[in-house]
């Protein structure tokens, strides 16, 4: 514990704790939520739009569902969003960056200019266009955000490879007649994968924030699945009289994103940088 605090500082340690709690809440949602049925979407109209009380700690929504239970179930969508977006983006960005950096020449030029096109868009706007074309839905919104996200990993991977390519051990492997595929898989990929996965872990917060913006616009998960961005939007009709409807899920997004960004900052600030792969 002391070593952890020393490494991450107090804010970082608290943030790590918050992230762990949220992950546990997401995994054990049916046991943690006071009204699991309502968390999944069962209406409870008799209690609609009740203000926060002993019975419903965070109030209820327009169908009388317990906000706390809905928010607890919402952690699942939110975290999966964040994790899947960075995973998909890595799966596209890493190979593109590897190929560009390793082969250089016209392959590099072609791939990186292609990447530039994706980076030329204001990110949220491209995601909105993509999500609108694919139609709303869980997987579609993740794909839409990933389309705007992968170029950053392609750039990062490329710059890592450019450094590695000149290393004596890579030169030696090439002179020894090792195939390109094998050099990439055995010598380059392992060394590149680490800084990239660390970066990806740091990006989970911003990624789930973008996904929340899409679902706020009605392009995310479809009801009755509990989703924070969509809840904030649904609550706008009752805002500000029934402020808790929008405020509680909004606060949830803020807390999760804050925890991830404080943790990210703590990891980056650590001596020796983030390249040790602590995440």
């Amino acid at each position: 514990m002391n070593r952890l605090v020393q490494r991450l500082g107090w804010p970082g340690t608290i943030a790590l704790g918050v992230v762990l709690v949220i992950v546990l809440v997401a995994v054990f949602a049916p046991w943690v939520a006071p009204y699991p049925q309502q968390g999944v979407g069962a209406p409870n109209v008799a209690a609609k739009l009740s203000s926060p009380s002993a019975q419903y700690w965070l109030g209820t929504d327009h169908l009388g569902r317990d906000m706390l239970s809905r928010i607890i179930y919402g952690t699942r969508v939110s975290l999966t969003n964040g994790v899947l977006i960075v995973t998909f983006s890595l799966l596209i960005g890493l190979p593109v960056g590897l190929a560009a950096g390793y082969f250089g020449g016209w392959i590099d030029e072609a791939l990186m200019r292609g990447t530039d096109i994706f980076l030329a868009f204001p990110a949220l706007l491209l995601a909105v266009l993509m999500a609108a074309a694919l139609g709303p839905g869980f997987l579609n919104s993740i794909i839409a955000v990933s389309v705007t996200w992968w170029p950053w990993y392609a750039r990062l991977a490329r710059s890592e490879v450019l450094v590695l390519r000149g290393q004596p051990y890579v030169e030696a492997a090439r002179l020894a007649g090792v195939s390109h595929a094998r050099i990439i898989a055995r010598h380059i990929l392992p060394a590149t994968a680490r800084p990239l996965t660390v970066q990806a872990a740091l990006d989970v917060g911003p990624a789930l924030l973008t996904a929340a913006a899409l679902s706020f616009l009605g392009l995310g998960v479809l009801p009755p699945t509990a989703d924070w961005g969509q809840m904030v939007d649904a609550g706008r009709k009752f805002f500000p009289a029934r402020w808790w409807y929008s405020a509680m899920p909004g606060l949830a997004i803020f807390i999760v994103a804050l925890a991830f960004s404080v943790l990210g900052d703590a990891l980056r600030d650590r001596k020796g940088g983030a390249s040790r792969g602590a995440a």
Partner: protein, 340 residues
């Protein structure tokens, strides 16, 4: 010479990027959606109506031909007709673009106005509470969902304190009783041109909350960048010399150190402008701001792809041009940029 080559290269690359952007928008808006013809044909179309729509939209033409048509239309500013309202999109854009630009420019100014002095303060009081508070709030600004911040500001300043309007761009008394004549489309300018101080004040008051929402994140970045640039400069000799001469601390900070730390300001302008153009989608819905963001969000719900495509194109081109200007300005200010 290097500078000229750098600028030329950046311009060529930007032109190439715009072409790529056009292609991507074409693919996503016209090829990915499953059935544009039935959307175009209107609600509950018959088979003949869909067939007619297919022909009008040239959906049966080869892809290359369709792209050529799309690119030509975009280049000439012919964005087509909205599926939903059947209005000319170009006309809608003319009405909505200035509103969004006004918001973007104003929020960028606000971000600099808040972020830079706070950054100077944080650097001057390094490690003390203003510094800590500043870095804490800039982290919070990153994690704050734009749409949530917008609603909080509405709740506090419009609902509780009641000294700023809840939403809209002008009060009814102005927009209906004595409307402004649209000259530039920027309400602040138009009010000044017409010599209408009442309208100017009203437009200004309506701008504050949405602009503040959009400024929060870039202001945090401006603060961080100014702080680190200032800390570096405060250790330089000319600052020590100024101290030794007994100049007052504010004088040292603002007239000797700050001008040398202005490098980040350009970066922040670019970032803030881009953030405002993107965030407009979320903020304009909440503040009922009649700009591109609200226009596109209504189009999303109606699957009005020509509108979504047009807005994406226009905003992206604004964005690319802005970045080009910033890069060139940075190269002019600091010639080392052109060499790297």
């Amino acid at each position: 010479m290097e500078l000229a080559r750098y600028i030329l290269r950046r311009m060529v690359l930007s032109a190439f990027v715009v072409l790529g952007v056009t292609f991507l928008v074409f693919i996503v808006a016209q090829v990915v959606p499953s059935d544009p013809a039935s959307l175009y044909a209107g609600p509950r179309p018959t088979a003949e109506q869909i067939e007619k729509a297919r022909q009008e939209l040239h959906l049966d033409a080869p892809l290359i031909e369709r792209f050529a048509g799309f690119a030509k239309a975009m280049a000439t500013g012919d964005f087509g007709v909205s599926y939903k309202s059947r209005r000319l999109i170009a006309e809608d854009l003319r009405a909505y673009l200035p509103a969004t630009l006004e918001l973007a420019v104003f929020s960028t100014g606000l971000a600099l106005l808040i972020g830079i002095p706070l950054g100077v303060l944080a650097a001057a009081r390094q490690g003390k509470w203003p510094d800590r508070l500043g870095s804490l709030s800039s982290i919070a600004a990153v994690a704050m969902p734009t749409f949530f911040l917008a609603m909080i500001l509405q709740l506090i300043f419009a609902q509780w304190l009641g000294f700023l309007p809840l939403s809209g761009r002008l009060s009814r008394e102005i927009s209906i009783t004595a409307p402004l004549q649209m000259v530039t489309g920027f309400n602040l300018f138009d009010a000044l041109l017409a010599g209408r101080l009442d309208a100017f004040g009203d437009a200004f008051r309506h701008l504050i909350l949405p602009a503040l929402t959009l400024a929060s994140y870039p202001a945090g970045v401006a603060m961080r960048l100014t702080r680190s640039a200032m800390i570096e400069i405060l250790e330089r000799r000319h600052v020590t010399a100024a101290r030794a001469l007994g100049l007052s601390e504010p004088r040292i900070l603002f007239s000797h150190a700050l001008p040398n730390a202005m490098g980040p300001a350009l970066t922040v302008i670019g970032l803030s402008f881009a953030y405002a153009l993107t965030g407009a989608v979320l903020v304009e819905i909440i503040f009922a701001w009649p700009g591109l963001g609200r226009y596109v969000s209504e189009a999303i719900l109606a699957k009005d792809f020509p509108v979504i495509a047009a807005v994406t194109m226009v905003v992206t081109i604004c964005y690319v041009v802005m970045n080009l200007f910033i890069d060139i300005a940075q190269a002019l200010v600091d010639p080392r940029v052109a060499l790297s």
